[in-house]
Structures are given as structure tokens and as C-alpha cells.
């Protein structure tokens, strides 16, 4: 779809541009490669999480379990690597397999029980959080050498910046999600499901299979995000990132994806995540602003985007009715 057909993304880009403008006017150095590189690194795990959420939301669903899955993966990795001396890469593979399977399980629940995604993934959230506590109650630091090496891996950027492994993986995940949504039949089916499930079925989309795959994808992304988070914090903690699923949802909506499904894309989400990161960065740099302004700003942006989307929806249906129904 061309940009002209994608007004919400346009609005996201404008908001992003304005934020960069305001921030750069006050703190010119944020345009440096180093700050950009850090912004990408700091946003990496939220970014990956939000990409999975984007796919779910486009399909008309929601996944509340992702934050808890992320935390579970980080705890699992810490336990496996530190307490059971498992090779980190094998642990990574286990984590991704487990989280993908968990997502598929939630998707099956939604499809076979015909239950609302909100409630099914809520149960998933309880289960995954509870699972964290079954593994440990404490924060477990990870001291494996591999972690040191992985977190120092980076591609140099001009002007002193660098793309760390985390940032690189997020960008790869972004590229993969974009390709999947835009250029596969599966991607088209995701949009179809979000547009109108009944029509999609009439047009030959296998809704059950697609639903399960969508939540499996979201679970996989949560698993990857968990690995990134584990490397980022070099520890596993059961109470980590409580409420991050809200940030992920907010990033998706601010990125121009319609919460009711059917419209949106991964690029917007990427910028949505950067907007959230920029707000945090600005608040930190400003010094006098307190951290809660971040939540208020996020909530305000969320409201603005929802209101704009609703307005556009109402206008377009009115226009359609005016044009002879």
C-alpha cells in the first residue's frame, strides 16, 4: 500500500518528526550516531515484542501474555544457564521453542473454545508469570562469557554510533515482519481475518490455522524479546517488565495500527516504539521532568490516535452513506 493510502502511518511519522525536532532543538547531540544507536538498543526488546503484537492486533486480536512470556524466558534462561550449566545457545533454542508453542496453545484456545482473545491470553499471562515464580523468586544474574561477548557485539555506525546485536535483531525482525505481512499469502490472510472473519472464511481463508499461527508468531517474538532482555539486563527476574504489554499495545496503536483490526503495519510500530523511547529519552535529558510524564504522554498519544482513527472511520462511513449508501 502506498503512503497516501496509509494516513495513520503518515500521522505517526509526523509525530515522530515533531518529537525529534523538539528534542533536537533543545539537545542537538541526540542526532548523533551514538544516541541513535543507544535508542535502538534500548528499544530492542520492546520493539520485538511490539512487532508480534502488531500481527496479533492486525488480525483483530490482542495478546496480553507477551510481557509475562518475556519475563518467563529471561528467568528460564538464567536458571538453565546459571544453575544447570546449559549451553546458552541451546537454552535460546529451548526458550524460543517453548514460547512459540505456548503462543500456539493460546491460539488454539481462542479458535477451538471460541473464547475472546482478551481472556485466553489473560490466562496465559497468569500462567507465564506464575511459571516465573515456580522457577525462582529472586533475581538471578547471568555471568556466562557468551553474554559478555554477545552484548559487546556491534556494527559500527558513522559518528561514533553502533548497532548492537540487540538492535540488529530488532531490525531483522522488523524486516521479516514487513515481508511476512506484505509479501506472503499468510500476511494477506492476517489482514483478511482482521477485516472481517466471516468474509475471510467465505473467501477461502483457513481461519483456525491462521489464528494459531498468528499467536504462535507472537509467542515466538516474545521469546526472542526475552532473550534480548536477558542479554540486555544480564539477569532473570520474575517481576521484570510488569505491564510491558501495555507499552507494546500503545506502540502498536501510536504506530497507526487500528486496534479493531484489519489495518496497520510493522513499520508504523517501529516508529511507535521509537516515539515511546524518545519520550523517555527526552524526559531523562530534560532532568526537571518526572518519569510519570512518560505515562501521561503515552496515554495522551494513545487517546489521540484512537480518536483520530475513530473519527476517520465515522467520516468514511458517513461519506459512503452520503454517496448513495
Amino acid at each position: 500500500m502506498k503512503l497516501e493510502h496509509n494516513r495513520p502511518l503518515l500521522i505517526t511519522l509526523v509525530v515522530f518528526g515533531l518529537l525529534v525536532g523538539v528534542a533536537a532543538a533543545q539537545f542537538p547531540f541526540i542526532l548523533s550516531g551514538r544516541v541513535v544507536g543507544n535508542l535502538l538498543t534500548d528499544s530492542a526488546f520492546l520493539g520485538v515484542l511490539a512487532l508480534g503484537m502488531t500481527v496479533v492486533i492486525i488480525s483483530g486480536g490482542i495478546d496480553l501474555s507477551v510481557g509475562a512470556v518475556l519475563a518467563f524466558v529471561s528467568v528460564l534462561l538464567a536458571v538453565l544457564i546459571e544453575q544447570h550449566q546449559v549451553n546458552p545457545f541451546i537454552a535460546f533454542a529451548c526458550a524460543i521453542a517453548l514460547s512459540t508453542g505456548f503462543g500456539a496453545l493460546l491460539g488454539s484456545g481462542i479458535h477451538f473454545l471460541k473464547a475472546p482473545p482478551f481472556i485466553v491470553t489473560l490466562a496465559g499471562m497468569f500462567l507465564a508469570r506464575g511459571g516465573c515464580f515456580l522457577l525462582t523468586n529472586d533475581s538471578i544474574p547471568v555471568n556466562a562469557d557468551v553474554y559478555q561477548q554477545l552484548s559487546s557485539l556491534a556494527l559500527p555506525l558513522p559518528a561514533g554510533g553502533r548497532i548492537t546485536l540487540s538492535a540488529g535483531i530488532m531490525l531483522l525482525a522488523l524486516a521479516a515482519t514487513v515481508v511476512m505481512l506484505r509479501s506472503t499469502r499468510f500476511g494477506a490472510n492476517i489482514y483478511a481475518l482482521g477485516g472481517d472473519q466471516k468474509a475471510a472464511r467465505l473467501m477461502g481463508v483457513r481461519t483456525g490455522r491462521t489464528t494459531i499461527a498468528i499467536y504462535a508468531f507472537s509467542g515466538m517474538m516474545a521469546g526472542i524479546a526475552g532473550i534480548l532482555f536477558s542479554i540486555y539486563t544480564q539477569s532473570g527476574y520474575p517481576l521484570a517488565v510488569v505491564g510491558i504489554e501495555l507499552d507494546a499495545i500503545a506502540a502498536v496503536v501510536i504506530g497507526g495500527t487500528l486496534l479493531s483490526g484489519g489495518y496497520g503495519g510493522a513499520v508504523g510500530t517501529f516508529f511507535g516504539v521509537l516515539i515511546l523511547g524518545l519520550i523517555q529519552l527526552y524526559i531523562t535529558l530534560e532532568g526537571t521532568l518526572s518519569s510519570w510524564w512518560g505515562k501521561i504522554a503515552t496515554g495522551t498519544l494513545l487517546f489521540l490516535f484512537i480518536a483520530i482513527q475513530q473519527l476517520m472511520l465515522m467520516l468514511s462511513s458517513r461519506r459512503r452513506r452520503a454517496a448513495g449508501k
Partner: protein, 352 residues
């Protein structure tokens, strides 16, 4: 009287679940039902269960009304944080306790009106509309407390959380009073009927002349107010407002309590009494886990199991299977009724 007996009969599965849990608690911990008077205040495990259930019970009363209209209110936890922050900051600044409480409830009302406005005027899906305040609300609460955990010493306000009247802890009294008021309202006015009508068939309700828009706003406003009262109680109990953690995730507990009480998320059933039973059941479960010697973290896993069980029991395919197996259909499957495959249309949206 007839109506009361009727609701008890229909709530039999919920009541038996609660009684079963209480008995299990009693088996695990024989002094469970022992109650004694300490410093003019009733104490004992069972009182503790009721006392701890109070905030969620309050939230779930408002949530029950919202869910009966086919909506949902995700912002109640954040509203609790806001109202607690308002109350604590005001008494801290030297205002009288009742001024603080009234302003806190006013803040809850305003929050609820905002949600209602989004849902019924802008016609945003409830889950999306209330998400806004869920995200921003804690920020607002922190703004009010300037990021601190605002503590206070005002004895009257603190009494709302930890005081007692005739030995009964204040939170229980307040919850019972609010519940009694709401039940009175639902029984003696037509509001209960109208709310169930909107949740069952929004368009037909509009056509019989019910002012669906105003009613929807009021329902969200009510949810805001009950959340605010819960927020005041929690703040009063700990003599401070913790904007970060007050009411955290309690919206989920409240939704669960409503569903446990036998209402359907598809709307159409307004069951205040059974919702209270659901809230107490939830707390009895949590207390039981502790009494059984499991770490409190185990709660989450049990909650997951409860939600999953509810999901399976309520699933339309399972219903059909039951109906076929047993015959008789609905009557036999009374535990989670009103979940026949009614197709939803967004609330208040007139058909073109």
C-alpha cells in the same frame, strides 16, 4: 422475597463453589472459622478473607454493571491509584478527611465519565476506550503524589481502611453499604432491567425508548466511583498512596470476580449479589493457597487454572456437547448461562 430466593437458586453453583473452598480452607487450617474480638475488632481468618476481598468486591460491583452492558472497564486499577493519590495528598495538605474522600470520589466520577464519553459518544470499543486511562491513569496518580509514596496520619481517613464499627472492619462495612445501595437501586428502579436489556439487545433497547447513551455513560461513571471508593480504602489501610502499585492488576481480579459470579462477558446479566460471592471466592482461594503452605506466587498459576476452567465451561462448543449429551440444554447447563451464541453488535449502535 421471591426474587431473592430466585437469585439464590440460580446462584447455586457459585455458592457451592464458595462453600467448597471455605470447607477446604477449614480442612487445611482448622481454626479457619474461629473469630475473636481483639481490641474491639473482630479477627480471624474468615474475617481476614472478607476484609481483603473488599477492594476487589467494590471494583467488581462497578465492573458487573459495565459487563452487563457488554462492555469492560480496564481502567479501574488506575482509577484506584488516582483516588488514593487525591485522598492522601489532600489530607496531607491539611484538608479535612471528608473533603479528601469527596474529592477522591469526584476524581473517580470524572474518570468514569471520561470512559463513558469515549464508549457511548465516540463509540470506541470499551476495551480500547478504557485502555487509555489504564495507561495514563498511573501517570496522573504519580503526578498528584509527585512520584512519592504520600503517607498521612489523619486518623479519620485511616479508620476507613483499618478501623472497625461494632467490631466489623470498616472495609467490609463500606463494601456492604455500597453493595446494598446498588442492589437497592437495581431492585427498586428499572435501571437493572434497562442495563440487562442493553447488554442483551442494544438496538432493540434503543427502539423501546431506553436512553442507551445516557445509561452507558452512567454505568461507566458508577464503575469509576466504586473504583475510587476502593482506592480510598486501600490508601487508608496502608496510610499512604502508592501510585505505582495501588490497584495494580486488580482490574483483572474484578473481571474474574464478575465472571466467577456467573455473568457472561457477552453482557445481559446483572448479578451484584453473585459478583460479591465471586469476589469472596477469589479471595478465599488466595488465602487457601497461603494456608496450604504454598508461596503466594503460586496464586498466579491457580488464577490461570481458574480462568482456563471458566473458559472451557463457557465455551460454546462445550455447551453444545453438553446439551447433546444431557438433553434439556440450558436448564442443565445453568452454571454459566446467557452464553448461547448471541451475536454481538456494538452497544448503542443503531442499525443502518
Amino acid at each position: 422475597m421471591k426474587a431473592a430466593r430466585e437469585s439464590i437458586r440460580r446462584g447455586a453453583p457459585q455458592l457451592s463453589a464458595l462453600i467448597f473452598l471455605l470447607v477446604v480452607n477449614w480442612v487445611i487450617f482448622p481454626p479457619f472459622f474461629d473469630v475473636s474480638l481483639v481490641d474491639g475488632r473482630l479477627t480471624g481468618s474468615i474475617i481476614d478473607v472478607l476484609n481483603r476481598a473488599a477492594p476487589v468486591a467494590l471494583l467488581s460491583l462497578g465492573m458487573a454493571a459495565v459487563i452487563a452492558t457488554r462492555g469492560i472497564d480496564l481502567s479501574v486499577g488506575a482509577i484506584m491509584a488516582i483516588s488514593g493519590a487525591v485522598a492522601a495528598s489532600l489530607v496531607d495538605a491539611g484538608h479535612a478527611w471528608y473533603v479528601a474522600v469527596l474529592c477522591a470520589i469526584g476524581a473517580g466520577l470524572a474518570s468514569g465519565l471520561w470512559n463513558g464519553f469515549l464508549v457511548s459518544v465516540l463509540r470506541i470499543q470499551p476495551i480500547v476506550a478504557t485502555l487509555v486511562l489504564m495507561v495514563a491513569g498511573r501517570g496522573i496518580a504519580q503526578l498528584i503524589t509527585a512520584g512519592q509514596i504520600t503517607t498521612f496520619t489523619n486518623p479519620q481517613l485511616a479508620a476507613l481502611g483499618s478501623g472497625a464499627l461494632l467490631g466489623v472492619p470498616a472495609p467490609i462495612i463500606i463494601t456492604v453499604a455500597v453493595a446494598a445501595f446498588l442492589i437497592f437501586l437495581a431492585r427498586t428502579t428499572a435501571l437493572g432491567m434497562f442495563i440487562e436489556a442493553i447488554g442483551t439487545n442494544p438496538h432493540a433497547s434503543y427502539l423501546v425508548g431506553i436512553r442507551t447513551r445516557a445509561l452507558l455513560i452512567s454505568v461507566y461513571a458508577c464503575s469509576g466511583v466504586t473504583a475510587a471508593i476502593a482506592g480510598v480504602i486501600v490508601a487508608a489501610d496502608i496510610r499512604g498512596a502508592d501510585a505505582n502499585n495501588a490497584g495494580l492488576w486488580l482490574e483483572l481480579d474484578a473481571i474474574l470476580a464478575v465472571v466467577l459470579g456467573g455473568a457472561s462477558l457477552l453482557g445481559g446479566r446483572l448479578l451484584f449479589m453473585m459478583t460479591l460471592v465471586g469476589a469472596v471466592t477469589l479471595q478465599a482461594l488466595k488465602t487457601g493457597i497461603l494456608l496450604a503452605g504454598f508461596p503466594s506466587e503460586f496464586n498466579l498459576v491457580v488464577m490461570a487454572a481458574v480462568v482456563s476452567t471458566l473458559l472451557v465451561l463457557q465455551a460454546p462448543p462445550v455447551h453444545q456437547w453438553w446439551a447433546k449429551k444431557i438433553g434439556g440444554g440450558r436448564a442443565v447447563m445453568a452454571p454459566w448461562p446467557a452464553l448461547a451464541s448471541r451475536r454481538a453488535r456494538p452497544p448503542g449502535k443503531p442499525k443502518p
